[in-house]
């Protein structure tokens, strides 16, 4: 079976953006695959390359070295074929727009329809289903101006899934959301994962946000380390995994670097533990 995402020895360096600036290595020789139907959480500090990884998967930037395949295609082909749904960290859409929930969701599907064609019955059905799955059917015809922040985020999720993608990419989806909200968000993503047979990638600096959504976890701090657990990331496993005090960043959640079995270089593990636990390196995230 073709993996959802294959990242083969990928590095990315941002070019110097001025006379007195220097190039910035954001991703360094990252090498992993994401199997279909998994829910992968990518945890890392600010400036650790999480957003760069997303841009690479979405094909918005090209790797400086290495290759990325999404369902066996180039990322650009994959997104042009509607295989990728994307929820950005910040919703920058203007709430004053004269546009309804249904119209926003339809944008995610209609943008690929030929200009002389109207939305077909199956397009309408997909749009309505997306709205129902995020539980906004009652508000479908409301202008977006009157929605709460959480409702607007669900509209954007519905827009992301309206085109029937196979991969859903979520960038810091629960920033500023309380634990109960993160839990509800996790349940929603779980519903979408099951109903639509989605592969999900969520990136965040917040362990709780990752725990609420993901069943596999990786830590990215310029280089990437996988933490696979046989049972998935249950609360019990979490308690076992996070035994090292990193309260400065994750509150009462702990990380035990010994479970990073696939990091065979002890100094690397130490660096990884340090970066994930304490590092707020600033800059690009």
């Amino acid at each position: 079976m073709v993996p959802a995402v294959e990242i083969d020895h990928v590095s990315y360096t941002y070019p110097a953006s001025g006379f007195d600036a220097s190039p910035l290595l954001a991703i360094d020789d990252v090498n992993f695959t994401i199997d279909e139907h998994t829910k992968l959480g990518v945890l890392g500090p600010n400036g650790g390359g999480k957003s760069t990884l997303i841009k690479l998967i979405l094909g918005m930037i090209k790797p400086t070295s290495g290759t990325i395949r999404v369902f066996g295609r180039s990322p650009i082909e994959a997104r042009e074929q509607g295989l990728i749904g994307y929820l950005p960290q910040r919703i920058e859409a203007d709430r004053d727009w004269p546009i309804s929930v249904e119209q926003v969701v339809a944008l995610g599907r209609a943008c690929r329809i030929k200009p002389w064609k109207k939305l077909a019955v199956d397009d309408r059905q997909a749009i309505n289903r997306a709205i129902e799955l995020v539980d906004l059917a009652d508000l479908a015809h409301r202008p977006i101006g009157g929605l709460s922040g959480g409702q607007l985020q669900r509209v954007m999720i519905a827009r992301a899934i309206a085109g029937n993608p196979k991969l859903l990419v979520l960038d810091e989806p629960t920033v500023g959301v309380d634990i109960a909200g993160q839990q509800r968000f996790g349940e929603l993503i779980e519903t979408l994962h099951k109903e639509l047979d989605l592969t999900v990638v969520v990136v965040s600096h917040d362990m709780r946000a990752i725990a609420a959504v993901a069943d596999r976890i990786a830590c990215l701090s310029r280089t990437l380390h996988f933490h696979d657990t046989a049972q998935g990331l249950t609360p019990a496993v979490l308690a076992q995994v996070f035994a090292h005090d990193v309260a400065g960043v994750f509150g009462d959640i702990h990380i035990d670097a010994h479970l990073a079995d696939d990091c065979d270089d002890p100094s690397h593990i130490h660096q990884h533990q340090h970066d994930c636990g304490c590092g707020d390196q600033g800059g690009e995230s």
Binding site: M60, Q81, P98, S100, A110, C111, P115, G145
Partner: protein, 290 residues
């Protein structure tokens, strides 16, 4: 009446186009870019003058129009490129392009004028007056010299612009609503931005035929701004915008022709009054609901 027919038809066609485009201009917050492009067009007029392409004949006017359109498109794309290199700060880009183009325009005007002065001493004063009349026309528009060939060209350009906008309407709405994510949906935001700015540049040069450099952008802002006061439904906003644009142009021309006022500024003033009325109506409706 026959003399007025091409003027009226050209003005209504250009107003209709302004009504449709202004919804995108206002929602995408491109009003200031519109001003930048229209003022940049002044540089294009200067180039046309120096090249000896001017409005003495219909062909000369069309040639001048082509040069101004080409220059405006370049200015629009330059604004887009500078905006990208300034981390999305369009105001800096517009400040640079607007000033450079206006300055270029005035320098070239003076150059063309001095060239005439040296060549034709006897006609220097008359030429000087002509140049100033020309500058006034460029700044504030002169639709009164529109004949059928010019009106036909205007209608053809308006149809072409509306056809392109209709073809890419879904992508345009998505881009205008939420540009940062459209690339992730398989669209090309840079291409859409450039396409719309080219459309805007051509539209502004057409609107300049009515309202000149100074007021052209207003015809691509006022109808949409007024319509957004009247409805929160996208389709209705487009309908109201076209009604304000065409209604304002009709009433403006009626007042202008009757009272002998300059047509372009009168149309813009009428659309401004309609915008003001829509704003008052919105406030009244909000208070009634509250």
């Amino acid at each position: 009446m026959n003399e007025l027919a091409p003027i009226i038809i050209a003005a209504l066609a250009i107003a209709l186009m302004g009504g449709a485009l202004s919804v995108f201009v206002v929602l995408k917050r491109l009003a200031f870019i519109g001003q930048g492009i229209s003022h940049a067009a002044f540089g294009g007029v200067g180039i046309a003058l120096v090249l000896g392409v001017h409005g003495a004949t219909t062909m000369g006017e069309i040639g001048q129009l082509a040069i101004v359109v080409a220059f405006s498109i370049l200015a629009a794309l330059w604004i887009a490129a500078l905006t990208r290199s300034h981390q999305g700060r369009a105001d800096t880009a517009i400040g640079v392009v607007l000033s450079a183009s206006m300055a270029l325009g005035f320098v070239l005007f003076t150059f063309a004028e001095s060239g005439h002065g040296h060549d034709e001493h006897g006609h220097a004063a008359a030429e000087h007056q002509d140049e100033h009349h020309l500058i006034e026309e460029i700044l504030f528009g002169n639709i009164l010299d529109t004949d059928w060939p010019k009106a036909s060209l205007a209608i053809a350009v308006v149809i072409a612009i509306l056809a392109v906008v209709w073809c890419i309407r879904r992508q345009l709405i998505f881009w205008a609503f939420d540009e940062p994510v459209v690339d992730a949906y398989g669209l090309n935001s840079k291409r859409i931005t450039n396409t719309f700015l080219v459309i805007l540049a051509v539209a502004i040069v057409m609107a300049m035929q009515i309202a000149g450099v100074v007021l052209a952008a207003a015809m691509l802002v006022l109808p949409g701004a007024g319509a957004l006061n009247l409805s929160s439904k996208l389709r209705s906003v487009f309908v109201y915008s076209v009604l304000i644009a065409v209604g304002g142009a009709s009433i403006g021309m009626l007042i202008g022709f009757q009272a002998g006022y300059p047509i372009g500024p009168t149309i813009v003033l009428t659309q401004s009054v309609m915008y003001l009325i829509s704003h008052i109506a919105k406030i009244a409706a909000t208070r009634r609901l509250a």
